[in-house]
Amino acid sequence: MSRDEVKIGVYICHCGGNISDRVDVAMVAEEAGKLPDVVISRTCMFMCADPGQELIAGDIERHGLNRIVVASCSPSLHETTFRSAVVRGGLNPFLYEHVNVREQVSWVHASGRDATAKATTLVRAAIARVRHHEPLSPIKVGASSRALVVGGGVAGLRAALDLAGFGLPVSLIEKSPKLGGRVEGLGTVFPAGESGAELIRTLVEQVSAADEITVLTRTHVTGATGYVGNFSVTVSRDTGNSSAIETEIKAGAVVVATGSTPYRPVEGEFGFVRFPEVVTLPDFLRILDQARSGGALTVNGRSIRRVAFIHCVGSRQIEGIHEPKPDCSLNLNCSRVCCTATLKAGSDLIERFPGTYVYDFYRDIRTYGRGHEEIYERASADGVVFLRYEVGAPPQVTEAAPGDAGSMLVTVRDSLTAGMEIEVAVDLVVLAVGMEPAEVGALAQTLKFPSGADGFLQEVHPKLRPVELAVAGVVLAGTCQSPRDIEESCASASAAAVKVAGLLTRGYVELEPFVARVSAERCEGAGACVSQCEYEGALKVVEAEVDGQTVRKAVVNGALCTGCGACVAVCPTRAIDISGWTLDEFEAMVDAICADPMEVAGD
């Protein structure tokens, strides 16, 4: 397509006022309309709504447009929407340019004049850039249909089963000798109160019965290479006699279900370690699970009549109040499940061992889930006594004097009793410890998994792509992503399985075409690009015969290239470009911005 045939359509969205309340959209459209090759320049109340999309498709047909620019919200919301509209109009989806005039303009500028000026400049730049757009096609790569599930807890089991349900072969690896994870030791689990062990038994039986699933226990990942559709993951299996077997698993996608570990209080934190009467909630649940109901609960031969539960241990930590870990980090997050689990444990205790008194020391009670508030109600009806502490004044756990009603004293400034200092004698102190991410290990290191400030693996977007990791082909299931209960873990595992199935059932994967490309004429095979490339196998220099001469040329593996552009910057002959993000496009944009007569100036 030659330059003189360029016909550009420009659309400015009101976003129902979100944009037009600040930005004079009519003026932006008018300014854009004055630019060469702009055939249509319009505004629309909602571009993303059907009439807006139809406008684009219709204009392409009516006016023979071959470049489209839409100025609206963030591209992460509607870029694909408008690309589809462009396709419906009969154009290649990559002949489209998106301008964000909402998040980056109307929402962040107070002055309407400045906002309008900035929007106009950005639209100008987009128009300048879109001229250079070429039709591109997604990169199609053959994909292995096997899914690798890492972690055999409740989320891993759920994901493996769902994947098997799609007919996909699954490798399920678990580093411990046994499938099941943490759920097994929880006793009965909320909200319905079924047995965690029973739940796991059912899942494990189903997994064992599924022909599609290969289970490898005592197995951990030692390294991984490849890309979506074609991962190669090496795993090491501990055979039990101090030797390990290394195997390679070829998988099209990876489900990470590595879970979490309970926070381990430091010595002395609420008397932990110092007093044997101080235990963590998971420990207590195990004790409760194994105890016979009736009479008094017995722990280490001692009869337990009064129990204190302390919430938020190792969760919702605050700088300056809580002791940071050796790596200077704090657990800022709420662990979400401990409130309901604690209340349920208190209720179970009272109901199974009548006459036991339960004191609940909390910062806040967050029984957020369906059926969780009922557990709070039950605890309250069972007579659990609640005491509230402020974050800066946590309960103090000390030894009681001999002959007291309990062996431990928990003292708190109770904000429910006007900050009065209350002392409770108890036989056992249970610390409701939070969740910390489990070590993901070599898999995370070799495939470069991103994690959030809290250390949990981080999805691309909490709402738009909630189970996908930024590494294409890797999805998240369960508590490796954030603290969550069994229900939520299973839901995310099922979602992850569907995501993987969508990817692998076609036999190939489509990758974005924004990858490096090499101009054979300009490339002199210097290799600066290769040494700069972060992604193994994405770029290499090969020898080729040109006119009877052996020359060195850089070659790109589109499946492995992420389009980061590091190679572009170092090429001495300007032989490398990123498709869709070429240097010519950047120059055109910069020129357009610099040439803009409507300067963005402060009042």
């Binding site: 008194y357 009806a381 007579g383 659990v384 609640f386 009793t417 209350i422 002392e423 004698a425």
Partner: protein, 372 residues
Amino acid sequence: MSARADPTLMKEIGLFGAADVSACFNCGNCTAICPLSKGDTVFPRKVIRYLQLGLTGQLEESPEPWLCYYCGECSATCPREAHPGEIMMATRRWLISRYDWTGISRLLYTSKAWEIGLSLVLGLIVVMLFALLHGPVVTERVELNTFAPVPSIETADWIVAALMTFFLLTNAGRMFRFTMRGVKAGLSVYLSEISTFFVHMLFQKRWRECHGPKIHWLKHFLLVTGYLTMFFLVFVFLPWFQTDGWNVSSLFGYYATAVLLYGTVDAIIGRLRRREEIHKHSHHTDWMFLFLLFSIALTGILVHVFRVVGLPHATYYAYVIHLAVDAPWLILIVPFGKWSHLLYRPLGMYLVSVRARATSTAAAGGVVPNPV
């Protein structure tokens, strides 16, 4: 010094009528809505909190339950249906039993059998005393003063009154000690606030600050006037009141009877209907209180009617029954039961005002002028 939690108190308060203290999640709506809760005496939340934690000492020292007149607005607006108004009521019962050093109060409040049994025994004792000791039975005409001579009855009256006063005052003394624990107030402070006691005792002034219809206050006020009228007739003016002829004191008797009958019947109907918050919960001691008071008024007026109509036997029988219901009232309900609120409530308000004045004086005296 921290306060010690005691998990058994919540169960104990249940015996006094607070069904579900643990339902409360301490939001404080009750305290916010209560027009009487202000300044240093905030309730019901604090009281409920003491109950939940089992802070027996703090609760004993709390005059707050006596400051509540149970309009029931807190119960009506409680998001957890914990019935804070009734919890306050139960706490008053509990406090009465804590003030009482004999343990009889506790027995009556926590056991229906003891309450009914002791009442019956006392009634029977009265009947037996009359069977053995009554005067000549004149059958030609009604001669009540021959059957039951005023001097004997008056002597019995005063013996009972002395006993009742002794128990009431010693219990009130304990209330005083509990409430004023750790408070230092000079005699002048006590004297300066003394009017508070009488104003509240006679007029229940504070009740008028409650939201809702003032009719509850008015009915109660009339009942008080009727009761006090009857009290003075029996304990001071008996020689005039218990007459076989006509005396002007009868007019006062009519008033008292009318008011007592109306007040008790109205309350009984209210408690049976259970429409208003104040009537929704009835402890067995509430029923006993109303039953005895109603019976006293009814048998009293029957004695009068039978005498006026000229039915000697009916008059004498009615008189014996009248005294048989009087006995458990005077001996049980007055010093150990619900009646004692007549003393504790104004005393509570009085002590609160003494305490407030004592602390404000101490604070004012403690101010050191800033040297800078």
